[in-house]
Symmetry: C2
Subunit: 424 residues, 2 copies
């Protein structure tokens, strides 16, 4: 079909996200990254993501362009019951079909809302009108229909834009449909897309690239190396689209690990809090936090994922100094003498919360998140972090930039990096 320029051809997909809210910045498109991960795991190359307005001509132009480049077009958004949502009607126009009532969809929606009769009104009833030529898959958790169209041997799947509805639709309906479609046509090989990522800390991106210069020149051109710096961590990703074998990827990934071993934090792309959590669980150890500038963000990361209750016990967020004094026992004199952003205070906070909550480990943060509160000695971005462990407590001072969110995000990253090192 398309793209015969590649030796090993893949199914190629594109995503079109539909909604004015994306183009005025009222909503961040988190769906596309999630869908991109799933597609890559399936061995499907995602070629492009396009966000368009709730506008008939715009949607149709984007569909035409995407079908010109890809075999599979996935759209999200515009399927609600209100007037601003026009995707279903536009799909009818594009595929030359019309809306018909679908009894199965009607029964599903009536069942879904059987305890909420207020929702079963005449607008909701428009949700069981579906394009006659589309195959309708079940949206288990919502009223918007999942529609699949075929066109010249290519497929289009239209999903709701609500993230959790989209995720369930993808996993339970759309991806199985695509797998089945792929089986029916024989001119695609799938499963040969590889991405392998490791994470390093403590070296600037350009210096790392010099360390890896010889490696980059030696490795086959069809194995790509990408640098993804974020919050002081650099993720190094090796990718191959069809030409490398699994063994070859493993070999080059092994070389890469050797070269960066002094800076290596993780051999996977897992979030740092997941890696730290796994290490804590492996040791049967528990952790608490005492947070000033990070204000609960570190705790929130540590308990973000399922199973965190095994190692995360709790926190004291001491945003106001009175909480540092009364709940964590930091002496007022100490705060006066050294300032609240100091080694003395943060060490005391870590030790206090470790004892108060009764955990094996504890992390404390105190810093100037900004934009106000900076001084000449302690400008915005100054953050002290302490790590209390069964073997003693250490602390370090960081300078983490000028923007409030950046400072607190980076402080969490620094806190987790050292925790991982302490546990490894």
């Amino acid at each position: 079909m398309v793209h015969d320029q590649m030796v090993n051809s893949f199914m190629r997909a594109e995503i079109i996200t539909i909604g004015d809210e994306l183009l005025i910045g009222q909503v961040v498109d988190t769906n596309s990254a999630w869908m991109a991960q799933r597609l890559n795991e399936e061995g499907i190359e995602l070629y492009q993501i396009t966000s368009v307005h709730d506008d008939r001509e715009h949607i149709i132009a984007a569909l035409d362009e995407a079908f010109g480049r890809a075999d599979i077009v996935l759209t999200t958004g515009g399927l609600g019951p209100t007037k601003d949502d026009i995707t279903k009607q536009v799909m009818c126009d594009y595929f030359g079909t019309h809306l018909v009532e679908d009894t199965r969809v009607r029964e599903h929606i009536c069942d879904l809302y059987k305890e909420r009769p207020d929702v079963l009104n005449r607008l909701t009833a428009t949700q069981w009108l579906v394009p006659a030529s589309a195959e309708i898959l079940e949206n288990r958790v919502g009223s918007a229909p999942l529609m699949v169209f075929q066109k010249d041997g290519k497929i289009l799947a239209s999903m709701p834009g609500v993230p959790y509805e989209m995720k369930i639709a993808m996993d339970e309906q759309i991806l199985p449909y695509i797998r089945n479609y792929e089986l029916q046509i024989t001119n695609y090989e799938s499963g040969h897309i590889f991405h392998k990522t490791l994470q390093v800390n403590g070296i600037p991106e350009s210096s790392l690239a010099i360390v890896l210069e010889d490696y980059e020149n030696r490795k086959p051109a069809y194995i790509h190396l990408a640098y993804l710096p974020k919050d002081g961590i650099i993720r190094l990703r090796l990718s191959s689209y069809g030409e490398a074998s699994g063994a070859e990827m493993d070999e080059w990934f092994g070389h890469l690990k050797d070269l960066v071993k002094d800076y290596l934090i993780a051999e996977t792309d897992e979030p740092l809090e997941v890696i730290a959590g796994s290490l804590l669980k492996k040791r049967g150890a528990t952790i608490a936090t005492a947070e000033s500038c990070t204000g609960g963000k570190l705790a929130s990361l540590l308990n973000k994922h399922s199973g965190s209750s095994a190692f995360f016990w709790g926190s004291v967020i001491s945003y106001d100094n009175s909480v540092k004094e009364h709940l964590l026992g930091v002496p007022g004199d100490m705060i006066k003498a050294h300032g609240v952003v100091s080694e003395e205070v943060v060490v005391r906070m870590a030790n206090a919360v470790r004892e108060l909550i009764g955990t094996d480990y504890a992390i404390a943060t105190s810093g100037v998140a900004g934009p106000t509160g900076g001084t000449k000695d302690k400008p915005v971005g100054t953050v002290w972090i302490a790590w209390a462990t069964p073997d003693g407590t250490t602390a370090e001072c960081f300078h983490l930039g000028k923007l409030r969110e950046q400072v607190t995000d980076r402080a969490c990253t620094k806190a987790l990096v050292r925790l991982i090192q302490l546990l490894s």
Copy 2:
């Protein structure tokens, strides 16, 4: 220039985000939404967002398409010093120019890294090679050049993909440049894009649309109404691209407010935590949280924005029951009798943390975030929330879905909605 189909013509912009990491889902594109907000505030219509690979032909095709539709093309990404970043060279090819050394950029970079000589290596030195025909604007916080090209009276600005570098670049350099460019050409009127949003709670989207049916039929077609449901809140946005006056928008926004007054939470698009924070500040009141299932997320929201230390004092995150017992004084017998997800426990938590931290208000959460831990009586998604105030404490039980992140996000929304109602 383009789009003479509109009576009032606007500058029209497109965003192209460049990076393989976007298309394999390793990074969520948060830049585009932020840039979209800024462009709309400037009265510039953002027509499309396109994410493409670090691939020469792909970038060039996207540039061609975007220039075919828009007057201003903004790109982010691909400007690092490593081999995988090719945007600068592709821009040279596209605009028929070549790289030259820029003394001013060199001096800036040397100054930027004067205390980090390890960064000043020969790869970093490639950052002061810039396209000869581009206008180079100062990237105050990084080494990647900000490049502006002009082509047939249209402009392209290329920025780094690192969010905080991009934000500073936009605010300090790119937007002023665009304003100036707009002044020089006379066939655009700007400043007539209006978006006005209010937020409602406690009514299903389809029922709301029925309430507003007559309104939707009466309002002029050039004033658009959009429904944006999220976490139980629905944002209602009125938009106009040029044809409505400010007074006309105010009038229709006023009608809208009247129609939804029973459900109205806010008359702006501000995040709920900002609205709650303003109300607390207005009263000179303070708040604390005691969090089990939300694990610090609510605290983190309350102190996310600058100035929060005026009202947010601190929290106890009692993820483990021992913390509920020892730090918050919830009797073990109460937990045994009613379960940890219960009205009794959550009321005790709220009262305890209010007293412990000494604030006027306190919010407590306890629930089953999932995916495990659900029972027949208290399935995943069951969350009790309590609000302690100077006038007493109330609590409510919610059922917030099946997905961990959705449950905790919605719990924070519910907590803030009631807080806003209590303070209004």
